[in-house]
Symmetry: D5
Subunit: 133 residues, 10 copies
């Protein structure tokens, strides 16, 4: 099933592949459906990555995320699946997906998943970008 | 007594056990009773964990936390007990419980407790998730 | 049933009965139970009034509100009932109760009820206090 | 078409019909579809009303609003239509619907529609509730 | 000159002309040029109106506001001119334009202009919409 | 007793007595003692007035408010007493005292008291200052 | 002395004299000197006015306010004097000056002064601009 | 003198001494007196510690802090003295005291003091609690 | 093309070249044009650097950034290009550019790029400035 | 020239020289003059240090900072000069000065400078104070 979703993702060439830099994308209008209750879920998806050869095209990302609109899927799985789809398309040096869902029954949930390209894992790549918060 | 509370907790299989990722759950509607004065206490419980084979089912977590509604228990003990109960059920790689109580007599209290699975303790597991605040 | 709740309310003499002034009390730790689902509800009760001969004693108000802790009652009814109970005890010149409940199913509710003493209703009493927000 | 949507709305008897009071309901998880572009729209619907004989049942309101999820409809029309549907079901003394949509092309839009029952229109009903912001 | 700008504005029929309701549009990405210094100015334009027979089409509004991008014009004049252009196209019952510019030399400026249709001026039309802030 | 407190208050001549204008003073460091429990209370006193012939000297106001530091006095009474003392010294055209106390037992209280000079009461003086919030 | 300050103020013609509209100017970088202690005071000056034939030129306003930098003057007097100077130069239909000073000894002060042109005073001019906060 | 203050501090047994966890206590209602001017000082005391065998009893902590109410003491000294008193009573594994005072003369001050038990100092104890801000 | 833009950048001598210190510059009024749609983009550019022999002159920086006003350029490229231009002119010890763009289609994007002078790269230079957020 | 400014700085003995602790001082009312334009600059100076034998006396610090009121000096230089002056007087173990200036031409600037006593530099002194934000 995942294959069907990800084929809408479009990429463009990274013009600065020799330099490690970070792209952070906020998608506060994410919605899917709870597979148990059939009720809609709402959340913010935050995507961060260090591109290698490819960058994500934003309009295709918007259409990709809209494909979950009527899809029944759990919080944990949707977060992991977005990571898998984006990693497959972009082959980034590092990527993190954070999904922050609105409260249900007085409880709200946040799931954070991360990926390191193999050669990066040894070098602790994200640390080469100092925090400037 | 703790056994009675924790048996309501329900789990489901982690679909991505080979990948370390973090789940963070905010429960701002926690209430228990002060064992000395009999007065109600109010607080926010924040649960963070890296799942191993199991994830917590959220509805059962809601019902579990509601069991403290009329229970007389100190701040420090309720925080440690929630950690013990959740670790017993989930056997996570890492877990942290933070309990943030509302002011009494102009003073407010926050208790933070943490657990590492034994094999994880050597590897400084949570650090494998870089901070993205 | 309401009679049983209100008899815990205690009052003291207003030392400045000849002057119209306003007392505003915030109670952010209110909880009751949904009569349909049996699940706890949480909210903030805001009480505003212009006292006549009596003022509410705050500790008795706290104990009165705690009596709803395990009571099954709808949002609209709890707000009206608190107004009825406090008006019966205080006989104020004017009173307003606002109840602001936390979200359920992505929807949150706020109920506002007001009372004017008969002689006040003609004089538009609350307007004698100019807004200083 | 509107008839089909509104028949899911459920009401219950107002227990305090002799007293004018205000109910305010926040629905921050509204979504519909732009009829021109087919792209999803997101917004917060705020419903305020003074009930006469009937109050809206919240779960049915949630299901009613979800029916717009895949419906193509303009901002101005969705706001007026929700007012028409709720007025038809509740016959309130006064009602106001505010719809606050997220930005598109750097521009965000808010639509506010209001209804007065005929006998109310002369009495300036909402003014009988003094502002306590 | 103004004629040239306003001819890009597009309208659509108001589906609820018999009902007075308010439309509020936030445009935080406005920019023009200071006619004295040639330096760019930045501000937020907030448009509020009660439509009569016509509503503004948002995409044409976006393109209309972009026409000021390289136009040298003073704060006071740009605000009045946007009002004149929109009133000419929409013939609304009431309209207000607020322009809020970013600081220059430690001083920031806000200009608010308003229009009433002649028949409306007597009836104090905007007051028929009660404030729900 | 009140006489003893108020004699520390110092005034200076209003240089613009022919013009109605408003002075607003925030005192967030107020503290007194609860006469029942002996425990300290903390709050913010906000003083607003339209001066007639005299203005309050701020250093003397600070020393006056410090006299309540170890004084046992109820919320309602301290607010009324500050009004009485300042009116006696300043003979203002209008004055309002708002006292906003920190929470005790999960409940916080705000008391607002107002004074009009007799000749002012007919003219609704504060309304001559339009709200600019 | 005031004459010397005000002669730096520069005006330009109001291009829309037939229309009542409001200009609001924030000057958060005001500083003067306390005439008693010689210590610097800091505050925000907010100027609001409805122009008649003239508008204030902003650069000259900035230079005018800077003239108070080393001037010893009380809070109440500086606010009234800025009003007098601006009214003398602009002859506006309505003007309000608010001065909001930073805390001294735990106490902060705000002074608000207002002017109506004589013909305006009867018509309650500022009310013709409906509040859109 | 310090001995006299600290003898009011009460402790209770830590029920989880084998586990390192953190207790954070906010005391926003601290007040003492400046030894030079005799004027009251106001601040927030934040206490963080990892308990060993004992935890602080909160009511005794409140009474202990109130003993500074009329005590003349400098910012730096009060912070160090609270640390010394609490370390003497609790013998914690780690403790930090932060005192955040309100502005005087436009300047506000914050003092942070820390203690490590000797055996802890080598192990960098606080780092065993990962940051979850 | 880049050469043409950067030649407007002006520098001045760093008076403290022997000391590593950080300069942070916020430019919230950046605008360029999307090369695909021709629509304007808006964002905040944050520049941080540790100067070596030269510092950036701020007025020239403002004029440099204005050159992008009508330039069609992608988010990722504009961020990298500003870094390249500033590094070429300043030859800093370390520099970071963060570009934070406003939402388009419900998605907002942030790009962060960093540069280390070669000799610095070994020493982890930015870490010599401890974080004081 | 710098010598003339710093001689007003007064110190007192650190009562706890054997313990490393941090003092943080916020001075939001700093103003100097731009040496190029003659226009006033405004900013917040934040001073952090670990005292050795001496602490800064706050009133003398206030008077020292006021000496820049009519001094023409660049952002970068004023920050470095305050560090030099305070290090010369206090000989602290560690000190950091952050100067945060208000926007000019839509651009705002922040300069951060740091000092380590020589013996401290090896020990990474500030790290001995764990972050408690």
């Amino acid at each position: 099933m995942s294959e069907i979703f990800r084929d809408i993702l479009d990429v463009f060439d990274n013009s600065y592949p020799e330099r490690d830099y970070e792209i952070k994308i906020f998608c506060p209008e994410f919605t899917s459906v709870c597979p148990k209750t059939g009720q809609p879920d709402y959340g913010t998806i935050t995507i961060q990555y260090i591109p290698d050869k490819k960058c994500i095209e934003l309009k295709s990302l918007k259409l990709y995320l809209q494909r979950f609109r009527n899809e029944g899927i759990f919080y944990e799985n949707v977060t992991n699946r977005i990571l898998d789809d984006l990693v497959a398309c972009l082959e980034p040096k590092w990527m993190q997906i954070e999904a922050d869902f609105t409260p249900r029954g007085g409880i709200s949930t946040n799931v954070t998943v991360e990926y390191y390209a193999e050669s990066e894992e040894d070098d602790e790549a994200p640390i080469s970008l100092s925090e400037n918060s």
